[in-house]
Amino acid sequence: MFGLDKKDKSLLAIVAILTLLAPFILNPFPTDSAMAQFNAGYPDLMQRFVIFGIFAVGFNILFGLTGYLSFGHAAFLGVGSYSAVWMFKLLSYNIIPAIILAVIIAGLFSLLIGFVSLRRSGIYFSILTLAFAQMSFALAYSVLSNPKFNLTNGETGLQVYNDDPQILQGANAPDLPHLFGLSMRSTYTMEIGPWAFDFNAGYYVCAVIMMVAFYLAIRIFRSPFGMMLRAVKSNQQRMNYTGLNTRPYTLAAFVISGMYAGLAGGLMAAMDPLAGAERMQWTASGEVVLMTILGGAGTLIGPVLGAGFIKYFENIFSKINDNVLHGWFAFLPDGLEDFVVTIIHPFVGKGWHLTLGLMFMMVVIFLPGGLVEGGQRLAAWVRGKRNKGKDKTTGKTEPAE
């Protein structure tokens, strides 16, 4: 089925199960328990998980396969968001045309930028994409928002107003992004005992799209085209000497990953019909780089894991404050408790970026393959132990998360 081998099929199945059952998996704690703040199963965050998953999967097609490190992918995400909101403004709140336009415009935009940037490689490529991204940010933030020609609405961000044409908007269609009438915000809450699980329409739209995107990524990874990209990564010069022009391949990879970013941007706008320039800033590009590397560049599942990991910590880790910490370490003697809390305090709450930075550095230094490699090493280590006949293993082989 789907033209995949057994291993990829099980990978796809795992991703499908994880995404479809996410409302259950991410809400393991009863709603009124003390641990409820670690529940990540609310629609807003779940949507972000899958949207950034798409973004990272797309980025990985470029970076993981060809080794070209782009620091400008957020620009495509932003362009996607802007085009989607324009579609809402001009046509209707139906998300299908918005997402299609977002992908197309982001694809064209990345074709333009890729055509120029890919003339260079290595550091120059990174810096060129960085320059382009900052330029797009400046364009969106100030240049294209003057009264004569207001494309982006500058600092306020592009949004839908009452006097917009919306020529296809039906009389009784919802006044929010919807899929043929199904509002993206509609949520069904299932309560089982003390647990509550949210099933959000927007999340499932994103999840289905992400599975399609993930499937396409698998196909690209396993195709001759993917092999060619890997060859470019391992030795571009040799490819050139064999008489092959690598530029079309890298450009195609760049455009594909740009379209993934545009898709993510379009979905972001579909969940919340607003587009701001800050999405295009180069630190936002840095974030997707973090996700991909943290999860494991060049692997299929890695970027998805990385995106989930970072978004989870961004939203959950940053909520831990001193009170929570005191609650955790209450069993320690008083002086020690305060001491431990003081030590941990800089790393949680507002300081979670510090943890992220440190973790990222550790990953780059010790685990160039990211979390996936970490999981594999752990698995190999456990297996090795078992083979030696030491019966101490407890089967902890899941990826380090």
Binding site: V116, I127, A131, Q134, V143, W282, P346, H353, G357
Partner: protein
């Protein structure tokens, strides 16, 4: 004519900052072949050296002055900074007033140390890894440095005023018979930058150490085979590059109040400057720094911004893209260096 000169002056101070950071970046790239994304963070740490010194100097103790009453009739509490108590009121006030220039003295050893530790502790292990890894690890380091500074100093910009004597404006046009009024501190900054840049070039050109470093930049292996410990010298150069960035940051405080992410804002532009100047070319970095600074200030004039709105925001990137496409090695880059 006045307006043109004013814009050139305006460009010079921003250009000085670009040139100093780009010079450090180029030194690191030219010697160690590493792209240092944490260089902006070093600039920021320099600026916060000044902030720290200013805070330390303002540490004070309270005494109760029985002769004066505050508006509630209680004895007035008077805060006296320790330095005023130690050195006498006048000298103490002078020291506090000159906190920013004095910070240069503490910034030099701090930045040399930071640079040394950074190179020995982290970057050393990345010479054999791909450029992408170097970019990533220094990017991570930049985030960590930023967050540490944010933890101690908060996220808001902190005012670091220049000394009173250098705060204000001067009519710099008098010498040439024109009327151009310009903030004194910016002129100081420009002179300072020129001094540092001149110092670095002189150091490389006229000392034995500098000669060895230049030889190492040209052919590291041969220099190493001659029995010279080139690694140690390159480490010191890394420290010097960090110090240059730090000093640029110290002096930039009065122009733009330091905040924890000021480095990132400068970093991107400094990369562009390095690329335009030519990767690995020191004069190129300086020249491009000043040129782009001046270009940016011309693009910020009302005439330019009304013709093309927002041109000042994108002009540098546009120039960089054009330069990279037409002359990939940059303005003064040597042929064959990083042209891939």
């Amino acid at each position: 004519m006045d307006a043109i000169l004013l814009q050139i002056l305006n460009g010079l101070d921003k250009g000085s900052a670009y040139a100093l950071i780009a010079l450090g970046l180029t030194l690191i790239f030219g010697t160690l072949g590493v792209v240092n994304f944490a260089h902006g963070a070093l600039f920021m740490i320099g600026a916060f050296c000044a902030v720290t010194l200013q805070r330390v100097l303002n540490l004070s103790f309270e005494t109760i002055d029985e002769t004066q009453k505050d508006f509630l009739g209680n004895p007035l509490k008077v805060k006296t900074p320790y330095v005023e108590a130690w050195f006498g009121p006048e000298a103490g006030a002078w020291i506090i007033d000159w906190a920013v220039p004095l910070a240069l003295v503490i910034a030099i050893p701090i930045m040399l140390l930071v640079g040394y530790v950074m190179e020995r502790g982290l970057i050393k292990h990345f010479y054999k890894r791909p450029h992408a890894d170097q970019i990533l690890v220094t990017f991570g380091l930049a985030i960590v440095m930023q967050e540490i500074v944010k933890y101690f100093f908060g996220a808001n910009p902190i005012q670091t005023p220049p000394p009173d004597a250098l705060n204000g404006v001067a009519n710099v046009g008098m010498l040439i018979g024109m009327d151009i009024v310009y903030p004194v501190w910016r002129i100081v900054y420009f002179c300072f930058a020129t001094l540092i840049i001149g110092g670095i070039f002189a150091f490389l050109q006229f000392t034995t150490f500098g000669m060895v470093v230049r030889a190492g930049m040209a052919d590291r292996e041969t220099v190493g085979l001659l029995g010279i410990n080139i690694d140690r010298r390159f480490t010191i150069m890394f420290g010097i590059a960090a110090a240059v960035a730090g000093l640029a940051g110290v002096m930039y405080g009065p122009i733009n109040p330091p905040n924890y992410h000021m480095g990132m804002d400068f970093l991107v532009l400094s990369f562009v400057v390095v690329v335009v100047g030519g990767m690995g070319s020191l004069p190129g970095a300086v020249l491009a720094g000043f040129l782009l600074g001046i270009l940016e200030s011309f693009a910020s004039t009302t005439w330019a911004t009304t013709t093309i709105p927002g041109i000042n925001q994108i002009i540098i990137y546009l120039v960089a893209i054009i330069v990279l496409l037409t002359r990939p090695r940059g303005l003064m880059g040597r042929k064959g260096v990083m042209e891939e």
